[in-house]
Amino acid sequence: MSQPARIPLRDEFKSRAHDALGDAQLRRNFRGAMDSLMEKRAAAFSDADERERLRTLGNHIRARALSRLPDLLEQLESNLTANGVQVHWAETTEQANRIVLDIAERRQARQVIKGKSMVSEEMDMNHVLADHGIECLESDMGEYIIQLDHEKPSHIIMPAIHKNADQVARLFERELGEPYTRDVNELIQTGRRILRQKFFDADIGVSGVNFAVAETGTLVLVENEGNGRMSTTVPKVHIAVTGIEKVVAHLRDVVPLLSLLTRSALGQPITTYINMISRPRQAGERDGPEEVHLVLLDNGRSQAFADGELRQTLNCIRCGACMNHCPVYTRVGGHTYGEVYPGPIGAIITPHLVGLDKVPDHPSASSLCGACGEVCPVRIPIPSLLRRLREENVSRPDPGHAVMRGQGSKYSALESTVWKLWRTLYTRPLLYRLFRFFATRLRALTPSRLGPWTEHRGAPKPAARSLHELARKHLEQPR
């Protein structure tokens, strides 16, 4: 598994989008999968009033937790420590990887088995461990599939959603020497058979965290395949990695958030497994890891936290509903974004993780249709935040007062001047009147090719008379 992944280069969003749009199979895979997910979510929230009340509650729980984030993190650390869990703080992904490597070296680990974790993707943990001679195997079926194909997740919940059964069958045939079958159950059985032994061979199990409960020191982990439970109970060491925003104050907060998460993500009333991890194996207990570690990763989250508006980004409970409902994501797929988190939530969180200048096109990759904000289970105003990031993209920071890393990288003197002229036109009635006059009288001269617009559409031609003129004549109003 030490072969480098095909990680696309940054700053090439549009060309990747172009390629994805031309890939008919990819388009069909995403459209079909997203349609199905949208239907499932809609069916899971059949009562609109209940859904909206629950979303409001979810928003309040997350906002309340974030308002006390530093205190809650300390409370979480103190309760976890009292339970016997070792808590580590990492500001950067390098630090987080160092922590994991130190544990692995101390335990002389050769093999790591991983439950699904997007934070470990942020850390690129598989490759970092591989570089140190440690095999890191994904145990989530979707993650396992893309790891076999040296790919990155294309969706935060369903990492292999860009592949259909035929593509998975051919992959298994090629990489595992399995006979070709498109029977999804058989394919899953193949993966299960191979993975099962790996759980027993692994020295360390790594997992993500869905919610970290401060008052009890509990790590909540949801999953459907049982691989999360195996990863966190069979190996002698369990390392959980999570972003600092995943903390909630109370155990009771988890109940509505779980309901929102599973219904928004896959339309499930509840996941097959809900793991609540509080401590390592105690004397006299027959299973469970000897050591449990929690790595709390910042990786740019405090930057979002520092701004009252951008902080709402951290409400996210990683359900993926915004992707499933996004007409852009549905068409270009997750790999087009070239980052760990694709889709609308990716477009608002990635700038904090890697710097806005590294992903300048992401906030623009939205028609601001609002579908993402409408389905977000914790009411993150994603369209407003996309708009805000567009503003930061073209605003050069005041010296010493940058809102975020990479701010202002899309500033262009030309575009800035165009918008100033636009403002002048629309704030000077006489000027606008002149403009209308020429636009309507010279409509025959409207060019038939208008840049990108006419690649897919005919050129719009102004009417012979503007509404201003027609209305004035009709209403006989003084000018």
Partner: protein, 273 residues
């Protein structure tokens, strides 16, 4: 968290958002302001005139301030907030009487109703005015339905239409309910659904030129589903979407055309085109 995947494409019906409550005045006003919008002004002026005629038929005097221009949305959604604010300020100054402001476009109405308050959050005096204007701003279909309580008498031959609602109209102004209710008053008009009805047409203001490939793919899908619906006409209350959809239909040399809801309602109810 991974579940068994299904690969079967299915037509999708997304649950409707719960409508935001709004109380409407008990009586029709004597006068209203019309804010025509910049796209209607130059590209669909007849839709603006049909809006005026529909309102006048309800006994309402329409005031059209000649100094109006654009709501500021293009700059606002592009991140040029300061430029948007100045254009918005110029509009706000024009609607100082206590008359409703009616807008024949959902997204521009949404700008007045929701985003001016964000633009002027740091200017208490202007913010108060922005709030007052927001309170009395209506999208045209909403105003006809809930304030005029219009009763439409269809005089046209039987036909089938597909209604496209702009995303901001749908999500900020809930006008898909209003457009449907108005069309349903027309006895000879049957509304036909089109596949992925609630999905964006790909216009998105400057999105269509910033991300031309994605926008092009979106409008290609939208026009395909509109053509497949069997509708004789596309009706929409948003001029931006209409420009996008009509432009694509024209490029495809499709006989189908989109028409502004105001013009469709006016012509169906005996008004002369």
């Amino acid at each position: 968290m991974n579940a068994p995947r299904t690969f079967v494409p299915q037509a999708t019906r997304v649950a409707e958002p719960a409508a935001a409550p709004r109380t409407y005045p008990e009586h029709k006003p004597e006068r209203i302001y019309l804010f025509g919008t910049c796209v209607v002004d130059l590209f669909f002026p007849e839709a603006g005139m049909d809006a005026i005629r529909l309102l006048e038929r309800e006994g309402i005097q329409v005031v059209f301030p000649q100094a109006q221009s654009c709501c500021g949305q293009p700059a606002y959604t592009s991140g040029y907030t300061d430029q948007a604010r100045e254009v918005a300020r110029a509009q706000l100054a024009l609607f100082d009487q206590d008359w409703p402001v009616v807008v024949p476009s959902g997204s521009c109405a949404g700008m007045f109703r929701h985003h001016y308050q964000e633009l002027f959050a740091g200017e208490p005096d202007t913010l108060a005015r922005a709030r007052a204007v927001a309170e009395r701003t209506y999208e045209l279909a909403e105003f006809l339905l809930h304030v005029c309580r219009v009763e439409l008498h269809d005089q046209g031959p039987p036909t089938e239409v597909a209604l496209h609602t702009s995303c901001s109209a749908r999500r900020e102004m809930h006008t898909h309910h209003h457009g449907r209710a108005l069309l349903d008053q027309l006895s000879g008009v049957r509304r036909v659904d089109h596949d992925h009805e609630s999905e964006c047409c790909g216009f998105g203001g400057t999105f269509c030129v910033r991300m031309p490939d994605i926008s092009g793919a979106m409008v290609a899908d939208k026009t395909r589903s509109l053509r497949d619906s069997g509708a004789a006409r596309v009706v929409s209350a948003d001029a931006g979407c209409l420009m996008n959809i009509n432009g694509a239909l024209e490029k495809q040399r499709a006989p189908l055309q989109g028409q502004h809801l105001a013009s469709f309602l006016w012509q169906r109810t005996g008004g002369q085109p």
